[in-house]
């Protein structure tokens, strides 16, 4: 099976030394002349960092772009919520950084499960991103001389993170949004907000359009193009509770999967260590606080499991600063997967704090004593404010309580070096693809990847695709559009037609519990097998007892949610299956069967140094497993150690 797969999955990584691959690729790519660019239509789905930057850049080049999002404005995409920062290899602090070191850290941070060539390109273009954003007016933090400031972030020993207070994602997205809106004004982008993509249209095996539902009128609409860029984010909301926005979903990616795009490594999910703990069963989402808090905050639990005193009443001698104890070299700055597992380990052992016992302390007492409250307020004021708002506790007075939460998904649709999926003409950018973060993403690199894909990779590679194809013109009257439209309409009608008793929220919560319990921070065979059965049962339950109130021909948020949930219920099974076949521990995927006596993750490079890419064969059917073998030439395979 693996052998057949290798022929299917051609990653199209250029030959030659690592540092020259991207240049060589650009040199060999075909160009589209300016007059022809005006005749080419490109659909971009999603308006986050990847989608907005790609749409703007392609329109600037002269293509006709159509941009779609489900929110009321492209400015609301969830990239906006990223707080901490964006990495680049500028080496402004003169602390030894370089393109190579950013590349090395990202490959190592990804626990050797990413594609080296993609990561190297990411590091290469990182500096261009900072230039572009500064020119757009992104108000990055500056030093007193007027030059850009940097800070350190988890998983790195250099300061390479650029930031705009605690709102870096917001400012970068507004920068990309402004570039997008400029092109809307120039007539080169047509904007379609409040539209949800419900199917991909293929003609002669290549992507030629999409079907969307107009969320205001409920009407289904067809759009044709010469290629389609999917920039629709990750699938973290499969867990119900996550730090994603409520609307974030897997639907567009999943429906492309059902049309033939392989789904790679769906079991790689990132559980972020610094989130506000769950407070009750009405909880609708979880809130992350930037990892940058770990620069100054110290993580600890009481040494005694029965200690019920308030955090600030427990003396130092009775505290266990477990990250500093276990990982003296990186201390509180270990990568996210390591920090999250260590918190879970302490809580499972009975040392957790707070009413649920599912929390650890993040304490700024020492930093405030050292730097003064004012300095801490300047760095983290908005985060402290947010924490205070949500919990009603003042983190300047008492330590914060934190617990890990689902935050980001490293898996996604499989793409080659050109960011093209297994469906020709369907490109996948940003969190929606799988390629750059391996099994664990380092902090401040999601923003980097989204913008790298959109500003500096896809404009070249889609141009090459369009320049080397002789695509016949198609219209939305083609029968493939009618078939896809009927498919999308039927699914909605089916959901509306069940008329059972259960709400989509109640079923989604149940799915979330299954995934969190069996496919969360740690996984083991029996649990995963149990989860598989439970998800299938829950899917049956959905199709026999879901109740959606209202009609399809109107704004119907209940119907939107139920539709997304139906896809999560199919996707969840694939996530669990992927976790089941990956018999090793790597990054965010921790199999209890594969750990060292010190409870550290144990990779199996002999058998699992590959990408697993799944081919859809029907709901409930066993998908076909394909593999892309990963080679590590520049960064030799090694056991990650942060000790």
């Amino acid at each position: 099976m693996a052998e057949a797969a290798t022929t299917v999955l051609n990653s199209r990584v250029p030959e030659g030394p690592m540092a020259e691959k991207w240049d060589r690729c650009k040199k060999e790519m075909k160009l589209v002349n300016p007059a022809n660019k005006r005749k080419k239509k490109i659909i971009v789905v999603g308006t986050g960092l990847a989608g907005a930057s790609a749409a703007a850049s392609l329109a600037e080049l002269g293509y006709q772009v159509q941009s779609f999002c489900f929110q009321d404005s492209p400015r609301r995409a969830h990239s906006i919520a990223a707080q901490g920062g964006i990495n680049a290899a500028k080496n402004y602090p003169n602390d030894g950084d370089s393109v190579w070191r950013l590349f090395y850290d990202t490959v190592k941070g990804g626990d050797f499960r990413s594609r080296e060539a993609n990561v190297h390109r990411l590091a290469q273009v990182s500096n261009n991103i900072i230039d572009q954003c500064a020119a757009q007016g992104v108000p990055f933090a500056r030093d007193y001389g007027g030059t850009l400031a940097n800070r350190s972030f988890g998983g790195a020993q250099v300061s390479r993170t650029f930031y705009a207070r605690g709102q870096t994602g917001q400012q970068l997205l507004l920068g990309a949004y402004s570039a997008l809106m400029r092109q809307v004004g120039a007539g080169r982008i047509q904007l379609f907000p409040r539209r949800e993509m419900l199917d991909l249209v293929k003609i002669d095996g290549v992507a030629r359009g999409i079907i969307v539902r107009n969320l205001i009128t409920g009407e289904f609409e067809k759009y044709s193009a010469d290629c389609v860029l999917l920039c629709t984010g990750g699938y973290g909301n499969a867990f119900y509770l996550s730090t994603n926005a409520k609307g974030s979903n897997v639907t567009a990616a999943w429906r492309c999967h059902k049309r033939g795009a392989f789904f790679a490594n769906p079991c790689y999910t990132q559980i972020h260590p610094t989130c506000i703990p769950v407070s009750g069963d009405y909880q609708s989402k979880l809130t992350l606080m930037s990892e940058s808090l770990r620069n100054d905050g110290r993580v600890w639990v009481p040494q005694s499991p029965d200690d019920n005193r308030r955090g600030n009443e427990i003396p130092d001698s009775e505290r266990d600063y477990y990250l500093e104890r276990r990982y003296p070299a990186f201390g509180n700055l270990v990568p996210r997967d390591v920090a999250s597992r260590a918190a879970k380990e302490r809580c499972d052992a009975g040392y957790g704090v707070g009413s649920s016992g599912q929390a650890v302390f993040l304490d700024f007492r020492d930093a405030i004593a050292r730097d003064g409250r004012h300095a801490i307020e300047a760095k983290y004021g908005n985060l402290f404010h947010m924490y205070h708002k949500i919990t009603g506790e003042d983190p300047y007075q008492v330590p914060m309580r934190i617990y890990p939460a689902v935050h980001y998904t490293m898996g996604g649709l499989w793409v080659d070096y050109h960011l093209q999926s297994t469906i020709p003409g369907l490109f996948v950018l940003g969190e929606a693809n799988f390629s750059d973060h391996g099994a664990n993403r380092l902090g401040a690199s999601a923003l980097m990847q989204g913008l790298a894909d959109g500003y500096f990779v896809a404009p070249y590679t889609t141009g090459h695709y369009l320049g080397s194809q002789n695509l016949p013109s198609v219209s939305t009257d083609d029968e493939a559009f009618a078939e896809a439209m009927a498919n999308a309409q039927d699914r909605n009608a089916k959901i509306l037609g069940v008329q059972g008793t259960r709400s989509s929220d109640s079923i989604h919560r149940e799915l979330g519990h299954i995934l969190w319990d069996y496919c969360g921070m740690s996984r083991e065979r029996q649990g995963l097998e149990t989860a598989m059965g439970k998800i299938r049962d829950l899917r049956d339950e959905f199709w026999s007892s879901i109740k959606v109130i209202g009609q399809g021909e109107q704004l119907n948020q209940n119907l939107e949610h139920a539709g997304r949930l139906a896809d999560f219920l199919e996707f969840g099974e694939l996530m669990v299956r992927d976790a089941l076949v990956r018999e090793e521990s790597c990054g965010g995927h921790f199999r209890e069967e594969h750990q060292s006596p010190e409870n550290e993750a144990m990779r199996d490079d002999e058998n699992f140094c590959h990408v697993t890419a799944w081919e859809f064969t029907g709901v409930g059917n066993e998908p076909v497993e394909h593999r892309e073998q990963l080679e590590f030439v520049e960064v030799p395979l090694a056991t990650r150690s942060y000790k």
């Binding site: 007027g146 850009l148 009750g280």
Partner: protein
């Protein structure tokens, strides 16, 4: 530790843009004070679902106070009683047992109601489209440190750039003026050296579109900045007026 509340909600229900709306009263019991306001609405919606009634439509997405998608006039205040807080970050501990809470959509001619509490804010996008950007195409940027920006200038720009585009300023204003929103973007970009080349055309084009959309005039009541969840300062409006005068009087654009 957690207390619970019994509440009466009076919620604006309107089935569609062209249909008359009305207030409908709902009773809620056992609402935890730790809930966010939107989680309280989720609970109400689940209750409506169980009864087979149409659920209340309201805009929301990130629920972290940054995307600007949530809205709501709560007891006559945009985003409710807390300062510097979006509806999604408002928590029920702010209310008392037995309270009656009135929930309405943003009310402004330029923000027509789509359904229940959902309004159309696309006017804001059309204003940005006219000039809320710096014209620098991808690949055309100089080295990031080539143009130094003094830290205080960057801070002023950042204060203005923090606007989340929610529309609370418009909803809070008796004239439904969008001056705070527009001035935040004008200030952000015109303060920075990168934004100087287009400062005259930017302010003129954005203001012209603002007027076209049917937003009202500013009468310096300052309700907008009092209601603003991102605490955008009224001084941005003064800066925009100055920019506008300068552009009209001194610029050739």
């Amino acid at each position: 530790m957690s207390e619970t509340l019994d509440l009466t909600l009076r919620v604006w229900r309107q089935p569609g843009a062209d249909v008359a709306g009305k207030y409908v009263e709902y009773k809620l019991t056992g609402i935890s004070t730790h809930m966010s306001f939107l989680e309280m609405l989720d609970v109400l919606n689940e209750q409506l679902h169980a009864q087979g009634d149409e659920m209340i439509a309201f805009d929301h997405d990130c629920r972290e106070g940054i995307c600007g998608m949530c809205s709501l006039m709560i007891n006559g205040q945009a985003h409710g009683p807390d300062t510097g807080t979006t509806t999604c970050q408002l928590h029920m501990r702010r209310f008392k047992n037995g309270d009656t809470i009135v929930v309405e959509p943003w009310r402004a001619q330029a923000f027509p109601v789509i359904r229940d509490l959902v309004v159309d804010r696309s006017a804001f996008d059309r204003i940005i489209e006219k000039g809320g950007f710096i014209s620098v195409s991808t690949g055309n940027a100089p080295e990031a440190n080539a143009i130094p920006v003094p830290a205080p200038v960057q801070e002023t720009a950042m204060d203005a750039a923090a606007c989340i585009g929610c529309g609370a300023c418009v909803a809070a204003c008796k004239n439904a003026s969008a001056m705070l929103f527009v001035s935040a973007k004008v200030s952000h970009l015109s303060t920075l050296p990168q934004g100087k080349p287009e400062r005259s055309s930017r302010v003129q084009n954005m203001v012209a579109q603002m007027d076209l959309e049917g937003f009202g005039n500013c009468t310096n009541t300052e309700e907008c900045s009092a209601a603003c969840p991102a605490e955008i300062s009224i001084s941005n409006i003064a800066r925009m007026n100055r920019e506008y005068m300068r552009a009209k009087l001194c610029s050739k654009e």
